[in-house]
């Protein structure tokens, strides 16, 4: 075998094993991002798939029980009841109105069992384009003509 043949074989082995590693793990590691509406449409699939669903934590919906925390996620007027059963305490950013991302599975009764919850006060730190941050009054949007001198 020529020297380039040897290089080719070695590289093929390396790239091949990486590809194998990459593809074989996808199945066990993939998580579906869905909206609440999509979650309900998934039907039976929802129970078997690992899903991450996002939404805002409904105001006054957080009920802390022993070992579990119940709350509702709201997204485009759809409400999803969630039971958090994870081991770690919920993050500090998790509170009324926070944007949360719950990872887990939907049960037959339409309750979402979350093993992990990520939360951030998106409304606070990164106002969506064209929307004012919470603390500022809505009408006090940066005005269009405010680069006034120009």
């Amino acid at each position: 075998m020529g020297k380039y043949g040897k290089f080719a074989v070695l590289m093929a082995i390396i790239v091949g094993s990486l590809l194998w590693l990459a593809t074989s793990t996808v199945a066990s590691s993939k998580t579906y991002y869905v909206t609440i509406a999509e979650l309900h449409k998934l039907g039976n699939n929802a129970a078997t798939r690992r899903v991450r669903v996002g939404g805002d934590v409904q105001k006054d919906s957080i009920v802390r029980g022993s070992g579990t925390v119940r709350f509702n996620l709201v997204q485009e007027a759809m409400i999803l009841p969630v039971v958090y059963e994870g081991r770690d305490p919920l993050p500090d950013t998790f509170k009324d109105g926070a944007q949360a991302l719950a990872g887990g599975r939907l049960d037959g009764a339409g309750v979402f069992h979350a093993q992990e919850v990520q939360a951030k006060c998106a409304s606070k730190y990164a106002p969506k384009p064209g929307e004012a941050p919470d603390g500022l009054q809505k009408k006090m949007l940066p005005a269009e003509g405010s680069r006034s001198a120009l």
Binding site: L18, S29, Y33, G54, D88, G135, L136, A143, R147
Partner: protein, 668 residues
């Protein structure tokens, strides 16, 4: 005030445009005064962007709450240090910061190379100005940092700002973005020189020689930036992780992989005139990944899972990347003749081949991380389902890749150029090889059952042994020849070829970091609610809650749990994990208590308080300190490599090493 700032940015935009036109036309028509005016224009841009930045910083420090940026990123009671840092704390400010760094780098380039590279400089100016033009477009027209708050076109101010995210109010986080940005922006310069020499068909490798230090400094900034981010996550986020394959983290590591590959593969070009096309591809890849990284972190496409393409600046970045990449590819293809290799690969067991595999692996990891990060975007486009890959996937893939790289770190530098003889293989690898097997055996017998940890620790020993042997052999030869002590001989050896031995030190830093990573499977966790006066057990430690206290400052309220830490019944320490509630941001955050030792860290997060009960998360993290020590060694090694070598480089490469080896074989 803000009008002056906005005007400065607009002027800078126009002058950048002028710099591009003047440089290109001046070079093509051979009009030196025109190119000179292009250079001056770039200095003017620096002045204008600095003025704009100064105004923004001044407004942040004095709390001009008429301005939208100031109101949403600072508040009155924030320490001035953090007010200053708010410059790069938000999207608008950080894009201005990018422009500022780029124009500063541009000014430095003009001052350092204005005499030596008259033919390349106009193109460099044009390319840097094009990049600048892109960022100034964003700054001046799309996301201006100088917007003011207004009600019905009447400028208004708010009483107080919203403050900086409390998680970011930590020293490492304050200096992390500047370092990362210095690294991101810095790669624009080697890229500009590479493209300039392509356009000019400049003979030789002058762009590599000119930008060698530059690349290394930039790489140092990037490494430090990534490490600071990792350290911040570990010390602040309260769960003790230092890397989680989060898209934003991935954005910072991608250009680092490509840049590391570039640093290695330019040696092939310098030494052998090989891989010319490849180096062009690598330096361009690194640069575009830097832009892509800025895009990922700044556009918000990853901050919310459902906002992947909704960001206002997203389409600008995508267009800039697409145009830039297309132009670069076209340029490289049209100059293939000029990039012909001067030598061929000769053997699989050679320095060339180890560089080749190093590059292959680094680029593969780059591609893998990129693929994993963009997986949700790709699947959404292909199947309308948004699927993400979590840390498990990244670890499955990246741990073996990392270990293979570690192995290459050990063998690569000891392979000879062209081909390696069996004799030299035995001489270099027999002792470390046997030692490595002994270490692996000892770990197995000692009861370690995690294959990756065993492999990692044995490889660490292997690489460390080869590095120590290199230093030892070279120093012994010098100490005998010059009749000086062993330690001065080590210094002399390093000084003779700083790049080589500095590089070994960097490798040593990597080894120490891998020792730290190997401790990961042995982490211990204990989470629970503990009454005042009760105890909690984690690993060998017993934690007793002595008291729960609280207090108030203008910026935040705090609660502290005072814990008595004992081991085997003996009191060893008192730890005080704290929670803070920041008033302006209405946000709680934890200040973790850490008892850091070389063998393991005891890490306690005070998660919540209910009456007289404290919810504590206690962890034991073995070997984590070695990661940070490794980072320091890596930084030190890079600094050593930046010191000019005592012996001219070409001489040092062949002669010093040859001499050392000759002496060894004579003795043997």
């Amino acid at each position: 005030m803000e009008n002056v700032g906005a005007l400065a940015l607009l002027l800078a935009f126009c002058i950048s445009l002028y710099a591009i036109v003047a440089s290109v036309v001046g070079r093509l028509k051979r009009k030196p005064f025109l190119t000179l005016s292009g250079e001056r224009a770039m200095l003017a841009v620096w002045f204008l962007v600095t003025v704009a930045s100064g105004i923004l910083v001044y407004s942040l420090l004095t709390g001009d709450y008429r301005m939208a940026y100031v109101a949403s990123h600072t508040n009155r009671d924030m320490p001035p240090f953090y007010k200053f840092a708010a410059w790069w704390g938000g999207q608008e400010g950080s894009l201005l910061f990018w422009s500022f760094l780029l124009s500063t780098y541009g000014a430095v380039v003009i001052f350092t190379t204005r005499r030596s590279h008259r033919n390349l400089l106009p193109w460099v100016v044009a390319i840097l100005s094009t990049i600048q033009l892109f960022f100034l477009t964003l700054n001046a027209f799309v996301v201006s940092p100088f917007q003011v708050l207004a009600v019905d076109r009447v400028v208004t101010s708010v009483a107080d700002g919203m403050g900086l995210n409390p998680l970011l109010q930590y020293w490492a986080m304050v200096i992390h973005p500047p370092f990362l940005y210095l690294g991101y922006v810095g790669f624009a310069v080697p890229f500009a020189f590479a493209i300039a020499s392509l356009i000019e068909k400049a003979p030789g490798d002058s762009w590599i020689h000119t930008t060698r230090r530059w690349t290394l400094v930039t790489w140092l900034f990037q490494s430090t930036g990534v490490a600071l981010g990792s350290a911040w996550a570990y010390h602040v986020l309260g769960w003790g992780g230092y890397w989680m394959w989060d898209p934003v983290e991935n954005a910072s590591i991608l250009p680092w992989f490509a840049g590391t590959a570039f640093l290695h593969s330019v040696m092939m070009q310098e030494k052998k005139g090989m891989m010319k096309v490849w180096n062009m591809v690598l330096v361009s890849t690194t640069f575009f990944l830097c832009i892509f990284g800025t895009f990922l972190t700044r556009s918000g496409i990853v901050s919310s899972v459902h906002a992947f393409a909704e960001s206002p600046i997203g389409k600008y970045f995508v267009s800039f990347l697409a145009l830039g990449i297309a132009a670069t590819i076209w340029l490289i293809l049209s100059r293939l003749n000029y990039l012909k290799s001067e030598a061929e690969l000769e053997s699989v067991v050679s320095r060339e081949s180890s560089f080749l595999f190093n590059n292959l692996i680094l680029l593969a990891s780059c591609f893998a991380v990129l693929w994993g990060t963009l997986f949700p975007v790709i699947t959404e486009k292909l199947s309308n389902e948004k699927i993400s890959l979590d840390a498990i996937w990244f670890n499955r893939l990246m741990v073996p890749i990392g270990l293979f790289l570690l192995f290459l770190t050990g063998v690569g530098p000891l392979f000879a150029w062209r081909r390696t003889s069996i004799d030299s293989l035995r001489k270099n690898f027999q002792l470390p090889g046997i030692g490595t097997l002994i270490v692996a055996g000892a770990l197995l017998i000692g009861g370690m059952r995690y294959p990756y940890s065993i492999i990692s620790l044995s490889l660490c020993f292997f690489v460390a042994a080869t590095i120590v042997m290199e230093f030892f052999r070279g120093s012994r030869a010098i100490s005998e020849k010059m009749n000086i002590g062993f330690l001065p001989a080590v210094v002399e050896l390093t000084h003779r070829n700083t790049r080589r031995y500095g590089g070994y030190l960097v490798h040593m830093g990597i080894v120490l970091m891998f020792i730290g990573y190997s401790g990961h499977p042995f982490n211990q966790t204990s989470i629970g609610e503990v009454d005042k006066g009760s105890v909690m057990q984690v690993g060998a430690y017993t934690l007793k809650v002595m008291d729960l206290t609280e207090g108030d400052t203008p910026n935040y309220q705090w609660e502290t749990a005072i814990l008595d830490v004992s081991k085997n019944g003996k009191h060893i320490d008192t730890l005080e994990p704290t929670r803070r509630f920041y008033k302006a941001a209405q946000q709680a955050t934890a200040i973790v208590a850490l008892r850091s030792r070389l063998n393991e860290d005891l890490y306690i997060n005070y998660a919540a308080r209910t009456g007289d009960k404290a919810t504590l998360q206690a962890y034991v993290f073995p070997l984590v300190d070695w990661i940070w020590i490794g980072v320091l060694v890596l930084i030190g090694g890079t600094l050593v490599a930046l010191v000019p070598a005592k012996v001219a480089r070409s001489y040092a490469r062949t002669e010093v090493v040859g001499m050392a080896k000759k002496n060894v074989s004579v003795e043997a």
